[in-house]
Symmetry: C2
Subunit: 256 residues, 2 copies
């Protein structure tokens, strides 16, 4: 009985000790990503600066849910390519609109969102797409909502000018990113601290992946699947989709 009492007394201290020692990993480099460190610093294998495990998408990590935020004027292929890829990779995908009113995609397709920003559940990954991006990026309520979910969001994925929405939420500061080929300069202007690259299919910063325009979302999604579930799984999906044009590693993985 005495031992049980001492054990119960010590549990909060043990919890505090755990909180003081979070896990660290190196950003994805393909070699030593699975090694977990208990202190910040530099990875002794690849030399990259370690990041908190909770803020990195690491191989083998069980990420099961993706929130697709849709707004009037979303570009159809921007979200449909990743939707195809992620659904075959076994992710649970749901759509969110600002309200539950139908959203008009590409001026043509009328989509009923599963949730509004009032009742959307958390998701491991938040995905945002291009088109008339200012409908979302210029809406303070939407930006506040994205920020309010940051604590429970493990990763971000933008296609095309969806990057402007992440930028407005302050998520791209000081990162290397990309966007639609006609919007490179304007994104650079919108997020001066970021390094906005042209002529790259996607840029992977660990927690945040931004892709180039429209069809590049397919490649970015396959890359994310490759990172989380292995290249063989990405290749399986690419073959199923008859996307034999997929070239693994065609984007940039930023080494922090």
């Amino acid at each position: 009985m005495k031992h049980l009492f001492i054990l119960l007394l010590c549990m909060p201290l043990w919890g505090m000790a755990q909180q003081k020692e979070p896990d660290y990993v190196c950003p994805p480099c393909g070699q030593c990503d699975a090694i977990v460190y208990h202190k910040p610093g530099v990875c002794p294998h690849c030399g990259m600066t370690l990041v908190l495990r909770d803020t990195a998408l690491v191989p083998g990590q069980q990420l099961s849910s993706i929130c697709f935020y849709l707004y009037d004027g979303t570009e159809v292929l921007d979200f449909a390519g990743p939707l195809e890829v992620f659904s075959y990779a076994g992710f649970k995908i749901f759509t969110v609109g600002k309200t539950k009113a139908p959203v008009t995609i590409q001026g043509i397709l009328k989509v009923n969102p599963d949730y509004s920003i009032q009742d959307a559940p958390p998701a491991d990954i938040f995905a945002i797409f291009g088109g008339d991006d200012d409908v979302a990026a210029g809406d303070p309520e939407v930006i506040s909502w994205i920020k309010s979910r940051d604590g429970s969001t493990k990763g971000y994925f933008s296609v095309c000018t969806g990057a402007f929405v992440l930028g407005r939420a302050g998520l791209l500061d000081s990162l290397t990113v990309t966007t639609f080929h006609n919007s490179i300069q304007s994104l650079q202007k919108a997020v001066p601290s970021a390094k906005v690259l042209a002529n790259v299919r996607y840029v992977d910063n660990g927690r945040i992946i931004t892709t180039a325009g429209i069809s590049a979302g397919i490649d970015g999604a396959l890359h994310l699947v490759a990172r989380l579930k292995g290249e063989a799984e990405a290749m399986r999906i690419a073959r199923h989709m008859e996307y034999d044009k997929y070239v693994p590693g065609q984007g940039l993985v930023v080494k922090h």
Copy 2:
């Protein structure tokens, strides 16, 4: 007054004469497609058997509308790729479901069709996509509806297993066609008189284009744009979509 009377008397005869002499063109070959003949026969330039102009999609032809038929279980990228391409090419696109009730795409996306099969207007091109294709192919009402529109439909476009729907409507008989890579044999069984090809991105029969699986719809759509509006227009759209992986002429154009 007398001349006017004679003119009015002759008009029906003139109309009959017009009906007896329809226009013929050669199927698309890239050289002499724009030449119009007034009798059936063989094109003196390319040697191909002439087809009725009304049943061929000829370069420069003003085709402005495309009907996207959607059903529960439609594969998302099957229709989203062509939707992206055709919308940039300036086509008027509308969606049709069996009813106006929301259609669930890929088990995820809830789409409200613009029309049902009860009130859908005619369209120059009828487009159908793969997925749980038997939902459409196995529905006699849907097949009857497709057949009933044949007189006003100038061209057909199928992606992936959408070919089974066209097959069930009797539209693929004796044609060279393709479909999803896992369904080549079953389509051959379903349409014994057709020649079902594997390992081809799309097959263009003039009036009917069938494409391979899922992402191949993008290439098939760009090919159709190239044929109707020129390769420069298709390349412009491919560049806009950052689909630099588009390879013009990667499919098969059947010479009848």
